[in-house]
């Protein structure tokens, strides 16, 4: 009897947890299906009185949202690929080679992820201005590849260390160079780890706000974060359009998370059990 009550309580608890996690997003979906006149009503209506998908039309056709999505997609894909290549190379170097200052360099990588973005951005702004990287997608690609780097290197470092050295030795005996061994032997068996790094890097780039806010000024170059924040103005916000746009930009993140999220969670939590 007591254990039955406990399991009922547990299920109720989980329902509450899921509700808190998900209702804000659900509310954005509902909001996006209302008209602006309905949104001005007090008290707020729970379900749309006149269901309309007009706000999606407005966001997609009247506002340059497809453009923002294309910009973000372009930047994020390049940054993710670059980040994956650079981080897996570095992680392999750290995991399998002995060299002086290795510990120090690993610490250097770890500390990098703690730097406050608002502190880095001031000098970066003036550097970008003087090297012609300001207001360019290329500049953002480099930066986005870098922000997830520290995390990715540490995640892959743990992964590569668990790969048995016999595999590489066999490849070396067959006459493979270090790089060739890495590409042909190590990478293929590290797919889950690489997927985790890829998901993480993509999400970092796709979701990033501060750097694009400061380093982009031309509206046609805006990323989705900037496009979204432009809905919030001092004269009031078109919340239905904001809702529609939020849903649209969340879909790619969600898709990737549904497809590969398991890898990400596994990668994130790999270090949680030690100690």
């Amino acid at each position: 009897m007591k254990s039955k009550l406990l399991s009922v309580l547990r299920v109720l608890g989980i329902i509450v947890v899921l509700f808190v996690a998900l209702f804000p997003l659900a509310w954005m979906v509902i909001t996006s299906c209302k008209s602006m006149t309905e949104l001005l009503k007090i008290p707020v209506t729970i379900l749309p009185e006149n269901f309309t998908l007009n706000s999606y039309y407005e966001v997609w056709v009247q506002k340059p949202f497809p453009r923002y999505i294309w910009n973000s997609l372009k930047i994020s894909v390049v940054a993710t690929l670059l980040g994956m290549i650079v981080s897996s190379l570095a992680a392999y170097g750290f995991a399998k080679f002995r060299f002086p200052f290795k510990k120090g360099l690993l610490m250097f990588v770890l500390v990098a992820q703690m730097f406050p973005g608002t502190s880095v951005i001031i000098p970066l702004f003036s550097t970008y201005k003087s090297y012609g990287l300001y207001d360019s997608h290329f500049g953002l690609m480099l930066l986005y590849a870098t922000i997830s780097l520290a995390f990715s290197i540490w995640m892959m470092y743990g992964y590569f260390r668990s790969v048995p050295s016999e595999l590489e030795e066999a490849a070396r005996i067959d006459g493979c160079s270090a790089l060739k061994t890495f590409v042909n032997v190590i990478l293929p068996i590290s797919k889950p780890g690489i997927a985790a790094v890829g998901v993480y890097a993509f999400m970092c780039s796709w979701n990033e706000y501060l750097y694009s806010l400061i380093l982009l000024t031309t509206e046609s170059k805006y990323t989705i974060s900037l496009g979204l924040s432009s809905f919030i103005t001092e004269f009031g916000t078109y919340w239905n359009q904001m809702g529609a746009a939020s849903i649209i930009v969340t879909i790619p993140t969600l898709l990737i998370f549904i497809l590969l999220g398991k890898n990400l969670i596994a990668g994130l939590t790999a270090g949680a059990v030690k100690g």
Partner: protein, 303 residues
């Protein structure tokens, strides 16, 4: 002698290859994070103001004097402390409870975990927008349900008023951060040896005692790492905060990142903003050193 020389040659070539592998990463990290950080230190001692000119004249500690004598600095530091501590403590407590709940889930385990994780993968701007709308003073859902439908409160809560803005911002950051900590703790829970619990049951320990004497000590490492990460993320938090309140009204929800942003990119006083950055950096590094100490200690044990 000869053998030793040959060996060191091998070690040398191994080191070179190792350096070549890590080179691209080090170049990116140094070029886009470390060198800017050092430049920022230099700016903090100059009168750099891009509205006037791009010249940087050395003015010693004038910026820091200005910061410490500014009327709002105390309040901003207080906000930062309150924000970081409350978000971290509440997040860790809530996450611990949720992780314990999740640990008993038998059906749809992966799906539940993925759904709980959701708030962590949303874009910052989306999180900010959603909650700005939910917490709206008149037309927000929370006020609508609490006041207009359930009549639990006499009047609408002004979540973004001077009195409540920091609390509201903290709530949203908790909502954003708890999924990460929950997932880490729930992985930690799964790593605990079941035999310890069985032995405790035989000794007649109840659930609370088991939690206190088995679960908590086993989770010490994950808990401290997660708390530190949550603390550092919150202290560096800018995006959601900027969308929700932009630090206002007044300076009631202004933290260091917000004042750095405003000083640099609304007033264009790069020198002054950089001195705020240096202070922020020093605070973060205190926590970073603790973090490094922790991971280093366990790394040596594990390796």
């Amino acid at each position: 002698m000869n053998k030793k020389k040959k060996f060191s040659k091998l070690a040398f070539s191994e080191a070179v290859r190792g350096y070549l592998f890590i080179l691209p990463a080090i170049v990116l990290l140094a070029g886009l994070l470390f060198i800017p950080m050092i430049n920022g230190f230099w700016y903090s001692f100059t009168d750099f103001n891009i509205l006037k000119s791009w010249d940087k004249n050395f003015i010693a500690l004038d910026n820091f004097k200005k910061v410490f004598s500014s009327a709002n600095f105390g309040e901003i530091l207080g906000n930062e402390a309150q924000f970081a501590i409350s978000v971290t403590v509440i997040t860790v407590v809530i996450s611990m409870l949720i992780a314990l709940l999740l640990n008993g889930v038998k059906h749809c385990k992966n799906l539940t975990r993925a759904l709980v994780f959701m708030p962590w993968v949303l874009p910052e701007v989306v999180v900010g927008a959603i909650w700005r709308w939910l917490l709206n003073g008149e037309k927000g859902l929370i006020n609508g349900v609490l006041v207009d439908y359930l009549h639990l409160l006499p009047e609408h809560i002004q979540f973004f008023s001077e009195a409540l803005s920091l609390v509201s911002v903290s709530l949203v950051y908790i909502w954003r951060t708890y999924p990460y900590v929950t997932i880490m703790l729930s992985a930690g829970l799964q790593g605990i040896d079941k035999e310890q619990y069985e032995a405790a049951s035989i000794d007649g320990c109840n659930g609370i005692k088991k939690f206190w004497y088995i679960t908590l000590p086993n989770l010490k490492y994950v808990l401290s790492i997660c708390s530190l990460m949550a603390m550092i993320w919150t202290m560096n938090g800018f995006g959601i905060l900027n969308i929700l309140t932009a630090g206002g009204p007044g300076v009631s929800s202004t933290t260091l990142p917000v004042i750095i942003y405003k000083t640099a990119f609304q007033k264009f006083r790069f020198g002054l903003a950089s001195s705020y950055s240096v202070i922020q950096f020093i605070i973060i590094m205190i926590f970073a050193v603790v973090y490094l100490k922790l991971t280093k200690a366990t790394d040596e044990e594990g390796a």
